[in-house]
């Protein structure tokens, strides 16, 4: 939903790190995106192509790694990935959970030359 702002931030993280490493060109950007973050990969790539024009990241490929939502049952500590928005614990059927994964949104690594 909010990929434009995210891509602006993504691009500045990429350029800052690439410049610090005295790179000439960014070839690949490895991004980790949690399923709960609401970020759509295609939309990120779409905005990135526009925003990265005339930067050293122009034409870079974004490689996405998706991480699933992970919930931990507060009653029996079972960790599970919810299906069909059902937050009931598959083990004890309680519905008391902490979100422990799926919110990730970070640049893991860059391939540069």
């Amino acid at each position: 939903m909010h990929e434009l702002s995210i891509v602006e931030s993504l691009l500045s993280v990429v350029l800052e790190n690439a410049e610090k490493a005295e790179a000439k060109r960014v070839l690949k950007i490895y991004v980790v995106v949690g399923d709960l973050s609401g970020v759509v990969d295609d939309s990120v790539s779409f905005y990135f192509n526009f925003l990265s024009e005339k930067t050293m990241a122009a034409g870079a490929q974004i490689v996405f790694t998706r991480t699933p939502a992970r919930l931990r049952c507060r009653a029996c500590k079972t960790v599970f990935t919810p299906e069909n928005l059902d937050f009931h614990c598959p083990a004890c059927k309680e519905q008391q959970v902490d979100v422990i994964g799926g919110r990730e949104l970070y640049v893991d690594k860059l391939e540069v030359e």
């Binding site: 939903m1 909010h2 931030s9 993504l10 993280v13 609401g38 937050f87 979100v99 949104l105």
Partner: protein, 220 residues
């Protein structure tokens, strides 16, 4: 030139988090309580703020930061009550970010304010990702939206300090199951308070006012 791999591990929204922290520090320095209010469009954020202003304006000095994609309708309503209001038009963006809040704070007389309401853009998804530096997060959900929303928008519900179910005056006309709703919210967020209210009739608002005043009394 040879190809190299740089390990980065840097949060994409890290810069926003930093700015949010600075907003919080600025508010603390001025002994201001900042409250971020989120909801879907039309759930009643502005009505809730107007009711709260009406009730508390003789006791606390308030200001409102209004986030909207366009227009200043909401800020105009607040200004009529003699309360400072800063309108942020996000020009299409679906959320407020920490930088916008900083600019709004710079336009308020912070020494003369106890409480700042931030009325976020109506949206249950995007604002959950962008910290603003607010001390408390109030989520407003209205009865016609349905009791399944905690399952559809879990992040927003896990982050809220208070969840207000608004428009309870129309409960008889909808299949909103308050028990199922409270169970789903409690499962995701055992510490969040759930207050059923009607910003129209005033029903249930007493518990919201007393929660708010209690937080104001304990602020830094």
């Amino acid at each position: 030139m040879s190809v190299r791999i740089l390990t980065i591990k840097e949060d994409i929204l890290g810069a926003n988090e930093e700015k949010a922290k600075m907003n919080r520090e600025l508010a603390d320095k001025n002994h201001i309580l900042m409250i971020n209010i989120t909801s879907s469009p039309g759930a009643g954020k502005t009505s809730l703020i107007m009711q709260t202003i009406g009730r508390l304006k003789n006791k606390w000095r308030m200001a409102v930061i209004e986030g909207d994609i366009a227009s200043s309708i909401d800020a105009d309503k607040v200004s009529k009550e003699g309360i400072p209001a800063i309108q942020i038009n996000t020009a299409g963006a679906c959320h407020l970010d920490a930088n916008m809040i900083r600019k709004a704070l710079d336009n308020l007389d912070l020494g003369q304010i106890d409480l700042v309401f931030i009325e976020n853009v109506g949206n249950l998804i995007c604002p959950a990702e962008f910290s603003l530096g607010a001390h408390k997060h109030v989520l407003l959900l209205s009865v016609p939206e349905g009791d399944d929303k905690p399952r559809k928008y879990p992040l927003m519900f896990t982050q809220a300090d208070v969840i207000l179910i608004n428009k309870i005056d129309v409960l008889p006309y909808f299949d909103f199951n308050m028990g199922a709703f409270s169970e789903a919210v409690g499962g995701l967020n055992p510490v969040g308070k759930v207050f059923p209210v009607s910003a129209k009739t005033g029903e249930g608002l007493e518990q919201w006012f007393s929660w708010l005043e209690d937080v104001l009394d304990r602020r830094k």
